[in-house]
Subunit: 105 residues, 2 copies
DNA sequence: TCGATAATTTTACTATTATAGAAATATGGA
DNA sequence: TCCATATTTCTATAATAGTAAAATTATCGA
C-alpha cells in the first residue's frame, strides 16, 4: 500500500460522522445497512450522509449495492485489513499483532 | 474510548508526514528515535516536524523522553492498541481480528 | 558564562474539509 | 405516465489543518 492510499483511508475515518458510520457498519456485519437507516440511526441529514459515504467509499473502506429504491452500504473487509496491515508493518519484532491478546471482544 | 478521542488519533495519522513518522517509529521499536534523526530520515524541516510530533503526542500515539540535548520519540503501544480495538469493536461475529491470518509480517 | 547544537514556539499564509439547503435524479407502484 | 420515496449533485459558507521562516528556549562542553 502507498502512503497516499493510507492517508486517504485514515482521513476518511478521522471525522466524527464518518467514524460513527464506519463503526455502525462494522457492527452491522456483511449485510450492511441502507443509507436511509444509517441517516436515521445517526441523525445525519441525507445530503451530508451522502458526502461522507462517498468519502468512505473512495477510501475503499465500504461497498455499496442498490436494492430497489435504497442503496445498501457495508464494510469492505479487504480495505480495512490492508490499512491495518500497513499501519503495523514491521512492528513488534515480526509479530504483527500489536495487542491481539489484550483486545476486547 | 470516546468518539472524539478516536477522531483525534485518526486525524493525527491521516497526514502524510505524520503517518511516515508513525511508521518509522513502529519500525524503530521501543527504543524510538531522537527528533533530529527523524527529521533527517524523512527530510522534514525541524519546525514542521515538531508540529507533527506534537499532534501525534497529543493523540496519545507516541511518547517522548529527553536525552541530553535530544528528545527521543517512541510509539506508545497502549494508545495504538486502544485505537485499533475501538475501530474493530464488535466486528467479525465476536472474533476481534479482522484479518489476522492474512496480515503480512 | 559563552558558543554550539537540538528542539520548540510564534506567526502568517495557504489550502482543504464539513455542513446542509435546494434542486436533480433514480426506482417502483398505481 | 404520474406520484412518492430514496439518494445524490450542486452550491455557498464556515471552520480546520498544513507549512515553514524567524525568534526563542534548553542542554552540554570548554
Amino acid at each position: 500500500m502507498e502512503v497516499k492510499t493510507a492517508v486517504t483511508a485514515l482521513t476518511a475515518l478521522a471525522q466524527e460522522s464518518r467514524l460513527r458510520v464506519f463503526r455502525l457498519l462494522v457492527r452491522a456485519g456483511s449485510d450492511g445497512q441502507p443509507a436511509g437507516e444509517i441517516a436515521d440511526s445517526l441523525d445525519i441529514p441525507p445530503a451530508t450522509l451522502t458526502f461522507h459515504l462517498k468519502e468512505l467509499s473512495h477510501a475503499g473502506l465500504i461497498d455499496s449495492t442498490r436494492e430497489g429504491r435504497s442503496i445498501r452500504y457495508s464494510i469492505r473487509e479487504q480495505g480495512v485489513c490492508e490499512l491495518l496491515t500497513y499501519l503495523l508493518q514491521d512492528c513488534c519484532n515480526g509479530q504483527p499483532e500489536l495487542c491481539g491478546s489484550k483486545r476486547k471482544k
